[in-house]
């Protein structure tokens, strides 16, 4: 599964802003850059719902800080 952790709107994103600025300097007409972290996980589970619930917990317990982070979970079955 993939978990994407990104900044909640309203919080400044210094990394994103710096990246946007440099891309503009290189000549690209970039308006905004947002930086997020993507975790790719493989795990064993009995059901897809169970996995989604576990992923939620992982985000709350470690991967995201609810003060500033949003997270999006995409679960896929590995062949």
């Amino acid at each position: 599964m993939k978990i994407e952790v990104s900044l909640k709107p309203g919080h400044s994103d210094p990394e994103g802003e710096t990246t946007a600025r440099l891309l503009k300097e290189l000549g690209y007409k970039v308006e905004r850059v947002g930086v997020s972290k993507v975790y790719s996980l493989s795990l064993e589970a009995e059901s897809l719902e169970g996995v989604a619930a576990e992923a939620e917990e992982m985000c709350k317990r470690l991967l995201a800080n609810p003060t500033k982070d949003n997270y999006a979970i995409v679960v896929e079955e590995e062949k």
């Binding site: 909640k8 309203g10 919080h11 400044s12 994103d13 210094p14 990394e15 802003e17 710096t18 972290k37 709350k60 317990r61 470690l62 991967l63 800080n65 609810p66 003060t67 500033k68």
Partner: protein
């Protein structure tokens, strides 16, 4: 204040105090943190977390310090992994430590750990999820410089009792993730609580005491309300981004060559002294 001195007993001697300076892979300020205690005649032990897990002896210490560094390489978020690891492996002992109001100090990375572990801002004990974050600096980038900070605390914080309220201190910061923020929708409410509970400890200011008001480099990281450090409601857990152990001696100051008469020690010493005096009086 009386609530902290519940356990009245005989006064404790300095030599009897035992401070634990915890470290893990990536911690790198432990030696000079221990040195500060050594200099004040207090025993401090640098203990690797693996060792602590083996011994299970956290409650043998009178105070706990999380020093600066790059625990776990700052992966995921600075301080996050160490914080969650501690809660998982030493959670019981740590909770007991906190509920007995034994002092806990977090410096720089240590502050990040305390926030991620839910020990700070500590409005109501240990929160299950972080109620604040120490985010990427604004303007971005690692920043190493000396800053002025104003003491905002009335009486609560046991680490600053020797510092008069309103006094301006000087210490160095060196970090890239030190911007204190609250959830947007909770900002006002939390700030109010910090003031009401006397939990605000330091704010970035100019040499003359005028607050930074977000202006760089007086406020080196864009921290909300120029907040440098906060304590929990009981005043026994304190975290700050600057390094008091690097402002301990006069010769560590950035401009000592200019001064005809140097005070013997730097401002950082006051933090350690306040803690020690509290411990001596408490027991």
């Amino acid at each position: 204040m009386e609530a902290n001195l519940e356990q009245r007993g005989l006064a404790m001697k300095r030599e009897e105090i035992n401070v634990c300076v915890l470290r893990v892979g990536g911690t790198n300020c432990d030696a000079e943190t221990k040195r500060a205690f050594d200099e004040l005649g207090v025993q401090a032990e640098v203990v690797h977390v693996n060792e602590m897990v083996k011994r299970r002896s956290l409650l043998e210490y009178n105070a706990l310090v999380f020093p600066g560094g790059f625990s776990y390489g700052d992966y995921v978020r600075a301080g996050a992994i160490w914080a969650k690891w501690i809660l998982a492996k030493l959670g019981k002992e740590l909770k007991a430590f906190v509920y007995e109001n034994r002092p806990v100090l977090g410096i720089c990375n240590g502050f990040q750990v305390l926030v991620e572990a839910g020990l700070l801002p500590g409005f109501e004990g240990i929160s299950p999820y972080p109620e604040a974050a120490l985010a990427t600096n604004f303007p971005p980038g690692y920043n190493c410089r000396w800053v002025y900070i104003k003491h905002e605390n009335d009486v609560k914080c046991v680490f600053t009792r020797k510092i008069p309220k309103g006094k301006v201190l000087r210490m160095p910061v060196a970090h890239s993730e030190g911007r204190l923020i609250f959830a947007k929708e909770k900002e006002k409410q939390y700030l109010k609580r910090l003031y009401e509970n006397d939990q605000l400890v330091f704010r970035y200011c100019k040499k003359n005491g005028v607050y930074a008001e977000g202006r760089f480099p007086t406020n080196p990281n864009g921290s909300f309300h120029d907040i440098v450090g906060v304590c929990n409601r009981e005043g026994t857990i304190f975290g700050l981004m600057p390094h008091p152990e690097r402002a301990f001696y006069w010769w560590q100051q950035p401009d000592w060559t200019r001064r005809a008469r140097m005070p013997q020690y730097g401002d950082g010493k006051l933090i350690f002294e306040s803690l020690i005096e509290y411990l001596v009086k408490k027991f």
